[in-house]
Amino acid sequence: MKINFEHHQTAHCENGVASNLLLNRGLKLSEPMIFGIGSGLFFVYLPFLKVNFAPGFSYRPMPGAIFSKAAKRLGIKIKRQKFSNPQEAQKALEKNLEQNIPTGLQVGVFNLTYFPEEYKFHFNAHNLVVYGKEDGKFLISDPVMDFATTLSETELEKVRYAKGALAPKGHMYFPTHIPENVNLEEAIKKGIKDTCKNMLAPVPIIGVKAMRWVAKSIPKWAEKKGTKVTNHYLGQLIRMQEEIGTGGGGFRFIYGAFLQEASVILKNDELKELSKEITAIGDLWRDFAVDIARVYKNRNSKSDIYNKLSKSMLHIADLEEAFYKKLRKAI
């Protein structure tokens, strides 16, 4: 069985799954729209949580949050299910497919056979859509891939039951109700307000304040933990920033595209200007990644390089703070 489902590649997996699933049900919303309405821009720093032997940084909210928030703001209902028994999970998925329901899944990346070796980590918050089953293989639309792929029953079970932090436990989801008239204007405004609130939160581990904490920690790592550890931490920072689906620069560009679309829908020219501003900030995030990459190459780099990186990141944090303050006023 094969459901008529259009695979569209997107920049980020969760927006992509959401946008593709909604399109299948006749609601056409771009990836940036889902991202903006679902308040996808985020930053969190968890210095005591170690991921891949480095502190936890994330440029994205909790997995599932973007789609859940977007759905709530648009009046869409999503059904989410988890299963303790893998066989039941497979049965429920197959039942959905029989009823012509393309279904979103949360999966672990480590055992995704079609990914390049370097991308296979124990990261459990990836998303994809299953849209059919042919010759014993599930038909997979993974939004970060250029093309649709397949996974065998065993392969799919492995990724649905990946273990460790954020274990998916067979998590599957699909929209059950889409309102006839969606109030896009209201949803956009709510999404923007929430993003500004998070990024300007008066908490040291979230938003602009968390960026500053990381920035100030860079020279301290170098002093206390040495070059090798510091470079690894910085590497983790770039990977969280620019790897498929997560993002610093990449996310700013998606947000820029969102603001551009939003300026037309809300007839608000200021948003168009702010779109340009966040695009410029995105460029700075990418320059920052290039600077970090340069540190690896010249291993015996001067000691003030870490101070320079720290300053660049503080500068970005300042610009972002100003940006969110303007954005909050613009709507």
Partner: protein, 134 residues
Amino acid sequence: MKKQDIPQDESNLQSANMTEMLYVTDENNNYTTAQSIGWEAKKAALDESMELINERIEEARQNVANNLVSPIVYFMELNKMDMQVLAAYVNMWQWTVKRHAKPKTFKKLSDSTLKKYADAFDISVDELKNFNGK
């Protein structure tokens, strides 16, 4: 980022025939999307992380050979796991896994316990038992 500035650097994506999609602006400053085959800065971070993993695997192999740790540690590193992830896969407490990481305790483990580890590493019990790091 402007469409014409999009990096097209050789990367790990090619091994899987992948490209990635990016949001970029065109000549009129309007957003559009474009494909990239890779970006050097990102590749450098991935390479560094792979290098670190390979160092850890090699160190674990030597430690097994010198009878300092049990084969569990080697296969854990080989599968890019840490104690927390491994403990979740074998459904045991982390401190239990830590004990099993000692060669002495490892030798006394029952086949059913070893089977749990072997399954987590996708190898046979014999492969796990007989790995000596040499």
